[in-house]
Amino acid sequence: MSEAPAGEVDGPATPPISPFRTALARAASVVRPVVRFIGAENLSLVIVLAIEIAIIVSQTKFFLGQQNLLNSLGQNIAVLGVLAVGESLVIIAGALDISVGSIAGIAGVAAALVVTGTGSMQLGLVAGIMAGICAGLVNGSIVAFLRVNPIIATLGTFAAFRGVAFLIAPNGYPVGVGTQPDFTWLGSGRILGGGGFVGIPIILIILIFVAVVGHVLLRYTDFGRSIYALGGNATAARLAGINLTRVRLGMYVFCGITAGLSGVLLAARTTSGSPLNGQGMELQAITAVFLGGAATTGGKGTVVGTVLAVLILGVLSNGMNLLGVQQYWQDVATGMLLVTGVAIAQFRALRSERARTRIASRG
């Protein structure tokens, strides 16, 4: 960047400021904060997303339509996105929560029951989130107090919570909420529409809100710092005086809240609090978190990366739908994307690791 333009090699010691340079400087001053926000480690995700969009746009003109972007894409990614933000915290802490899809199932049924009983959207929302908090407390207690490995613990609650979802649903049947427009508004409502603009989906606004909360929590609070420390080296974190029990409980509760919220959104969008809701979404959420750059060992990862990965997965599926690609090929593509993405990250980590050992090995 400090390189002088070719014509000025023999110029005075302080070359006149060329318009090219000011433009460059201006561009840099705009780009730098953006890069800092996204994080250098997430730049490759942005590039992947850009390439993906470029390919799809070159194949179909429907992709860039606001109906598609805001409706199909925006609404589709929101439920998964909310789930993945919570999962990010747990994975960064070096743990895992496999039960989030089942929690979403419970929360959807609970919210639907309360909404049909009281007619209040707010109470339904609260019920769903409370269900998530309770489930998160159960997960957190099993991991923090009983010291069960997180995979085993949440594999257990993955099954148990799904059972609970069926038990609280009347006779195990879905609870329809189609007659509750206030509630379904959460899933398909829009605001700021009019004048040719279809409006921003509520569900997308909720995703953005949850992502911001997750990002701030992780990056700016002592809780977030403790999560990185726990994931990076649990023993060192404990010996530095961090109360790991509290951190573990906290992160599972947060993950439960996001799972509960995404269950509510799913019920609102599908107009049905079905005990089957959210099945398989735990794996999609975990996929997104790892694709977003989280380390399997913990200690690394960002909410921004997770959201970018959710976007990449959403755009992929949306674009293939527009192009009429069979669902099975979409699954293959998703799987390949995850494996390729993580393989590239591994390769880069290995390279920097080599550079590190080279320096450390002197002497």
Binding site: D222, G241, I242, G299, I359
Partner: protein, 530 residues
Amino acid sequence: MSPPASTQPPATPVPSPSLGLEIRGVSKAFPNVQALSDVSLEARPGEILAFLGENGAGKSTLLKVINGDYQPDIGTLTLDGQPLRFANPLDAHRAGIRVIYQEPEIIPGVDVAENICVGELPGRGGFVDRRLLEARVRADLDRYGFSAALPMGLMGDMLSPAQRQLVEIMRAIKSNVRVLALDEPTSSLTDDEVQRLFALVRRLRDEGVAIIYVSHRIREILQLADRVAILRDGRLIAVRPAADLTEAEIVRLMVGRDLTAMFQRRRAATDRVVLRAEHIASNWHHDVSFYVSAGEVVGFAGLVGAGRTELAKVVFGELPRDSGSVFVDGRLVSIRRPSDAVTEGIGYAPEDRKREGLILMRSVLENASLAVLQRLSRFHFIQRRMERRLAGEYIERLRVRTPSLEQEVGKLSGGNQQKVVLARWLAAKPKVLILDEPTRGIDVGAKAEIYHLIDDLANQGLGVMFISSDLPEILGLSDRIYVMQNGRISGELPGPGATEEQVLALAMADHLSRADPVPESTTAEEGLAG
């Protein structure tokens, strides 16, 4: 004292040039670093050659060149006059050169016999011929007197560090090793094991193997080596017969300056007891009582397994305590977990900084502020400017050499990593600081800085519980010394005036009463190794 040897060629006469491993004019550069410059040296058959140098002096790089991990940029290696060119360690093995690193590769699910013969198992029709295998391995083990120390049927994951090294050495012997290099072989061995290893190394030397021995432990080297090569900043500073060198001379050559004033100890301990432990009993201890006053450095000496680290961890709440009480500033405190101890004003810098001290993948800043997060936060939001100021202040005060506060801690050198752990606890402003082997594995220069720091801290009224296996530093720094032995405190000595013999006698009280007295040759450092 002779003038600095850096300008002289090695003084020892070169024997018939065709024998042994010859390293001629080897240089190796990495980005930003000249790891080796123009090193020439030979390892002769029937001789133990030691490499000494601070961290970063080039010892490991030289070993890796010998082992074929690295190819030299310029320079040559010859073995018995034959030029060597290794593409990888396997080539070096084939040529009869073996480097044994601190953590040998052992296959966990396979027993000792198969581990030793890995890669060349005697087979019959696709099956391993166990009888032939065991006969071969037993013959070797018997020949070197290790059939008791290394049971053939033991599985790989059950082996102690010493046994792992033996397996690796037996592998080397099996493949008719000509040059055997050992990298810090004693760092995790007990005293007995060290002596046994030395016997083996001497025996291999007498059988005509050229031995290269790399260690930080100067006394050990003086005891074992025939010749000593001293490296500094990638250059060979001197090669001398071990008999011509003293410890002080070696340190001077390694560091390039005199370190007589390493220990200061100019302070006055107060009467205010900041930490008192009474009748501590645990899985590792029987009725241990001790105290640390404000402004006092209290040394904890003892053999491996005496329970010093465990005592620190029991007091800190990391390990469970059966009975006994802990007082901070005269007040009985309930410490159930480390976070309670930190709240009460106790800090603990653990022995194994990589595994227990640092979050290696996170930044210097995050590591330095880890113990004060709550204090730095308002409504759980970290006040980032305050955090940077606080961390920056201690990083600077401890002279941590790091490009920025954002640098990953794992990328710093050992001494600087240790300083980051210390910076964390200084920032926390504890009343008592427990330092567990704070100078383990760091170079002499960084050691001196840490000694100064401990001195400063005590001067400012901190109580320091100082655990170390390095007797000179315990004697040089402590105001009082507790000697531990087998889960008990076997004695208490005043720091000034205490001698190594006194400490050793207390540390080995049990051994002395049972067996013969401390042999003359057992120097302090080995006695308290590990």
